[in-house]
C-alpha cells in the first residue's frame, strides 16, 4: 500500500500543517512498509520543494502548471486521481485545510475511496484500517473503519508533531497531468490573507476572551499577553455575536475547533458549546471570577479572579520569562 501525500502550498510556500501531515504520512508509510510520494500542485520553487523530503517524502511530483495556482476542487481532484494511477497509490493523505476539506470528498467520490477527515492519530492497520477523529464537535471521538481498496485521510491541524531532519535529497520529478477544460470554470477574483498574524487553527498557544472582558476596549490586555507568548487570539460566541470581536475568532461548536498546546480562557464561563471547540487543547487554563464556572471542570489550571486583576500579573510575569529566554 503506497502513500500519496498532497503537499498544499499557500502562495508558493508550505506551512507547518503540511509538514505535520507529511510527518503523519511518513510514519503511516513506515507502519505499512512503504514509501511516500508527495504531490505539489502549482508554482513552488525548487528550494521549497526540497523541504518536503526533509519531512519524509521519498519522492516529489511537481506539477508546475500555473493553472493550479488557484484552488479548484474538481481540477485538483482530477490531477490527484491521475497521480494515484501513475504511482499505484492506495492511500492518500493531506492536511485538513479548508481546501483539502473540499478536495478530499471530491476525490473520494471520484475514485470510490473511503474518506475520513480530521484524523488525530496514526491509523491502526493491525486489523483492517481504522482511524480516530473527533465527533460531535469535540464532545467525543469516533473510530472509523475504511473498507475500500483506496483510502483517503485528512489529518487534523495541530494534532501531530512535526519531525523534520530527514534525508533532504530525494528526486523531484516534473509532471504534467491532463487538464479538463470543463474543470476550469471557477474564476478566482481576489484572495485576501491576513499578513503577519498567527493563524488561529495553526497556533500553538491561544489566548481567548469572553464576556468577562466587559467590552471590546479591554481587548488590549488579551492582545498584549498573546503578543508576548507568540499566541493567536480567540473569543467566545457571545463576544463575536455582539461584535466585540470578528466571527473569524469565534471558537466553539459552531465556530472554529482548535487544538493548541495551550489554551488560556479569560472571562469565559465554559458553556458546553465552547468547550466542544477547544477540548482538543493539550493544556487549558481558565481564569474566571465565578468559582462555579464550568470551565474549571475542563481546565488543567485555574485562577478564580477578576480578569482585570489577573491579566496584568500574567503579562508582567510573561514579559520577565521572555526577557530571560
Amino acid at each position: 500500500m503506497s502513500v500519496l501525500f498532497f503537499a498544499e502550498n499557500i502562495e508558493g510556500k508550505f506551512h507547518k500543517s503540511v509538514f505535520e501531515a507529511l510527518t503523519f504520512a511518513s510514519d503511516t508509510a513506515a507502519k505499512l512498509n512503504t514509501s511516500v510520494v508527495a504531490v505539489s500542485l502549482g508554482t513552488v520553487d525548487a528550494e521549497e520543494l526540497k523541504k518536503l523530503s526533509g519531512y519524509g517524502a521519498n519522492k516529489v511530483l511537481n506539477v508546475a502548471d500555473a493553472k493550479f495556482n488557484t484552488f479548484n476542487s474538481a481540477l485538483y481532484a482530477s490531477a490527484l486521481q491521475q497521480a494515484i494511477e501513475k504511482e499505484g497509490a492506495d492511500l492518500v493523505i493531506m492536511s485538513s485545510t479548508f481546501n483539502a476539506k473540499s478536495l478530499a470528498p471530491r476525490l473520494s467520490a471520484k475514485i470510490s475511496a473511503g474518506l475520513v477527515t480530521n484524523v488525530i492519530e496514526l491509523p491502526d492497520t493491525n486489523n483492517g484500517f481504522t482511524v480516530k477523529k473527533p465527533v460531535y464537535s469535540g464532545k467525543g471521538f469516533g473510530l472509523f473503519s475504511i473498507n475500500t481498496d483506496k483510502k483517503i485521510v485528512t489529518v487534523a491541524i495541530n494534532s501531530y508533531h512535526v519531525v523534520g531532519g530527514k534525508d533532504g535529497n530525494v528526486a523531484i520529478e516534473d509532471w504534467t497531468p491532463q487538464v479538463n477544460d470543463s474543470d476550469l470554470n471557477i474564476k478566482v477574483l481576489e484572495t485576501k490573507r491576513q499578513k503577519g498574524k498567527i493563524s488561529l487553527p495553526e497556533a500553538e498557544i491561544v489566548v481567548s476572551g469572553g464576556r468577562g472582558m466587559k467590552g471590546p476596549e479591554n481587548w488590549g490586555m488579551i492582545e498584549e499577553l498573546a503578543d508576548i507568548l507568540g499566541a493567536a487570539t480567540a473569543c467566545s460566541k457571545p463576544v463575536a455575536d455582539v461584535g466585540w470581536r470578528p466571527h473569524s475568532e469565534h471558537v466553539g461548536q459552531t465556530g472554529l475547533t482548535i487544538s493548541p498546546d495551550l489554551y488560556i480562557a479569560v472571562g469565559i464561563s465554559g458553556a458546553i458549546q465552547h468547550l466542544a471547540g477547544v477540548s482538543g487543547s493539550k493544556v487549558i487554563v481558565a481564569i474566571n471570577k465565578d468559582p462555579e464556572a464550568p470551565f474549571f471542570k475542563a481546565a488543567n489550571y485555574g485562577i478564580v479572579g477578576d480578569a482585570f486583576e489577573v491579566l496584568p500579573k500574567l503579562i508582567e510575569a510573561a514579559k520577565k520569562i521572555k526577557a530571560h529566554a
Binding site: 500543517s17 484552488f71 479548484n72 476542487s73 474538481a74 479548508f98 476539506k101 478536495l103 470528498p105 471530491r106 467520490a109 471520484k110 470510490s112 473511503g114 474518506l115 477527515t117 477523529k133 473527533p134 464537535s137 469535540g138 467525543g140 471521538f141 473510530l143 472509523f144 473503519s145 473498507n147 470554470n185 471557477i186 474564476k187 478566482v188 484572495t191 485576501k192 490573507r193 491576513q194 500553538e204 498557544i205 461548536q253 459552531t254 475547533t257 498546546d261 495551550l262 458546553i272 458549546q273 477540548s279 493544556v283 487554563v285 475542563a298 481546565a299 488543567n300 489550571y301 485555574g302 485562577i303 479572579g305 486583576e309 489577573v310 500579573k313 500574567l314 510575569a317 510573561a318 520569562i321
Partner: protein
C-alpha cells in the same frame, strides 16, 4: 430558479452527548433534534434567493421519518416542498449518493448544504455530491450573489478569504456568515401543514466508511487552582513544568 437544500438532523447544540451501550450511536433519551445549525444558515440564504428570483426551493433529507418536524419547520420558513430518502445515513458518501439518485434529471441551478454537520463534522457531502452530479463545488461559503447565469461568492481559505465567480449550476456549503437563520411565522407554520413531503426509496448504495465505535473524551485531571495573588506562578508553571511558553 430551482434551488435545493440538503438538510441534516443533529442534536441541539446544548446537548450533553452520552453514547449508547453499543457505542454506535448517542443515547437519544431527552435529546432535542434540530436542523443542523449550518444548514439553517444555508436555508436562510436559499430563501433570500428564492424570494429575489421567484424561485422554487426543495429541501431533501436522507433518513427516517423522525425528521418530519424539522422538514415541516423548513417548509414553514418558506421551502416549497420536501423530499425524504427513506434510507439510513450511514456515511457521507451514501448520503451524497442517495441525494444524487433522488434528484436525477432535476437540474437544480443551486444546491446548498451546511459546511459540516455538528455530529460527525465531516464536511464531505457537498463536494461529493458536486462530483457525483459533475458540477462545480465550492465550500465554506460566506457570501453568495447571483446575477443571471453567474454566481459570485466569498469563501474561507486558510488564513483569509477568497472571492470567486462561476457560471452555471453550483453546489456550495454554507459557513454561518452566509445568512442569519430565519424563524418561521404563524402564517408559514399554517401553510407548511399542507405542503408535500415526498418519500423516495433507497438506491441501495453501500457505505465506504463504517463507524466502529464512539468514545467519550478522556477526563482531564482535576484543575490545579492558583491564588490570584500568586497569578505570576501560573506563567512559571507553564514555562518550567509544562514547557509550553
Amino acid at each position: 430558479m430551482k434551488i435545493l437544500l440538503c438538510a441534516s438532523k443533529t442534536p441541539d447544540t446544548t446537548t450533553k452527548i452520552i453514547f449508547s451501550a453499543d457505542k454506535k450511536s448517542i443515547d437519544a433519551n431527552g435529546v432535542q433534534f434540530i436542523l443542523n445549525p449550518y444548514d439553517d444558515h444555508a436555508l436562510a440564504r436559499a430563501m433570500d434567493l428564492k424570494e429575489k428570483f421567484n424561485g422554487h426551493l426543495t429541501v431533501i433529507h436522507v433518513g427516517d421519518g423522525t425528521v418530519e418536524p424539522i422538514l415541516r419547520r423548513c417548509l414553514a420558513i418558506g421551502a416549497d416542498e420536501a423530499v425524504r430518502v427513506n434510507a439510513e445515513a450511514t456515511d457521507a458518501y451514501s448520503v451524497a449518493s442517495q441525494i444524487a439518485s433522488a434528484i436525477k434529471g432535476e437540474n437544480f441551478d443551486l444546491i446548498l448544504t451546511g459546511r459540516e454537520s455538528i455530529d460527525f463534522n465531516g464536511s464531505q457531502v457537498s463536494d461529493m455530491l458536486g462530483e457525483l452530479l459533475d458540477i462545480p463545488s465550492i465550500s465554506f461559503v460566506s457570501e453568495l450573489e447571483i446575477d443571471g447565469n453567474t454566481k459570485t461568492l466569498r469563501r474561507f481559505i486558510d488564513g483569509g478569504e477568497e472571492r470567486l465567480s462561476v457560471d452555471g449550476p453550483l453546489i456550495i456549503s454554507a459557513a454561518k456568515e452566509l445568512a442569519e437563520p430565519r424563524i418561521p411565522n404563524m402564517r408559514g407554520i399554517m401553510q407548511s401543514r399542507t405542503k408535500p413531503i415526498k418519500v423516495v426509496e433507497s438506491n441501495g448504495v453501500k457505505p465506504l466508511v463504517e463507524l466502529v465505535e464512539l468514545s467519550a473524551p478522556d477526563k482531564k485531571t482535576s484543575c490545579v487552582f492558583i491564588d490570584v495573588a500568586d497569578a505570576a506562578n501560573l506563567i512559571e508553571i507553564l514555562h518550567t513544568k509544562e514547557k509550553l511558553i
